[in-house]
Amino acid sequence: MSGFFSAFTEANLGYLMGGLGITVGVSIISVVLSLIFGSIIGIVFFEKIPYFSSFVGTINNIVRNLPLLLIIFFTYFALPQLGLHLPIFWATVVAMTVFQSAMLAEIVRGGLEAVDVGQFEGARANGLTNMQTMWHIVLPQAYKKMIPPIISQLISLVKDTSLASGIVLAELTYRGQIIYAQNTNFIVPVLVVMTLVYFLLNYGLSLIAKWFDHKLA
């Protein structure tokens, strides 16, 4: 058993937890950004603007149906060919945001569609413009309903950040790999600890989602 723990010297443990910080950082920034972009796209879907909504929908479908790993590689390796040099952290954030915005757009649309139509009409009858109705009446309600699915997207993000180890972002999974590069006997202990860390983080998030689910139901 002592062999199991020898992988976790203070330095290695600190290094690994620093990776957790990067994983969480990328996830939170990406979820906030994709909430913004996803909402804009979701509203475009919901408004059913002739031609435009379906056109945006097609592009959204294309993005949604690509592997995230491909989008990550593309952002870091191919975009510089266009003169866009993103530092690795931000390249990951951009890739995650593009992918998750496409995912969240569908959720936002669903959330908006679940809001009672009568409320639109009521608000408009009270002299609010389209934009005001959306901003003050509809969106707040829709977001409340969307909290659980948004948290499950955050869980996906935390998990998917591990893919950025492929472009050498020093997040949790990559740092685990670096630690077992020191000594290959560390592999199983490191994988077990990484599994635990991811599980605790994501399971905790899923409990929060469940709590909201109950509260809103």
Binding site: N61, N65, L70, F73, I155, K159, T195, Y198, F199
Partner: protein, 213 residues
């Protein structure tokens, strides 16, 4: 275009491996997922807990970690290639999501049907197989379809363990040709050939289901 022609057989080989891994994992995860979904709705407390733990564990850890675990740790005991390790990991990971879809499908069937079937002398297993599951699957089809799309996309994880899939071959072509931009666009199109039609078909099904409801 010449990049595409020059490496066509490489891309095709990768496409084949991606398709193969996806199909193996789909069949495997449908079976496993259904088993764990049933466990979650039985009366046995033990079965329910096992089902719950399984689903929670595999839903909440990254696919990459599961893949590395099989490729680097399990393979020490049981020999397997990167393709096999990746496909097993994909199967386990996806089965947790499929279990959720199937469970939701089962729960959407009225409890009265199960009771009725049991009252008519069917065992739990028979009632499940003959009465409940066929209906549950029908309800779950759109969500199962989405899981299959995710499965195809997630199969790119094989690239991490030398799984010879589309992403793996794409990385090699990109590294050798240095036209990363074009290579990744070609790879993207190959994935879309599988995922996009499926996605539209599922949207169509969902639409139909909503209309019927």
């Amino acid at each position: 275009m010449s990049l595409f022609e020059q490496n066509f057989s490489v891309f095709l080989q990768g496409f084949g491996h991606t398709l193969l891994a996806s199909i193996f994992a789909l069949v495997g995860s449908l079976i496993l997922g259904t088993i764990f979904a049933i466990m979650q709705v039985t009366n046995s407390r033990t079965a329910r807990s096992i089902g719950n733990i399984y689903v929670q564990v595999f839903r909440n850890i990254p696919l990459l970690i599961i893949t590395l675990f099989f490729y680097l740790a399990v393979a020490k005991v049981i020999k397997m290639t990167g393709f096999t390790a990746g496909t097993i990991a994909l199967t386990l990971y996806t089965s947790a999501f499929i279990a959720e879809s199937v469970r939701a499908g089962i729960l959407s069937i009225e409890a009265g049907q199960m009771e009725g079937a049991r009252a008519n002398g069917l065992t739990f297993g028979q009632a499940m197989r003959v009465i409940i599951l066929p209906q549950a699957f029908k309800v779950a089809i759109p969500s199962l379809g989405n899981q299959f799309i995710n499965l195809v996309k997630n199969s790119s994880i094989l690239a991490f363990v030398g799984g010879l899939d589309l992403m793996y071959q794409g990385n090699i072509v990109a590294a050798n040709s240095f036209d990363t931009f074009t290579t990744y666009i070609i790879i993207g199109l190959f994935y879309l050939v599988i995922t996009l039609p499926l996605s539209y078909y599922i949207q169509h099904l969902e639409h139909k289901l909503k209309k019927n409801a």
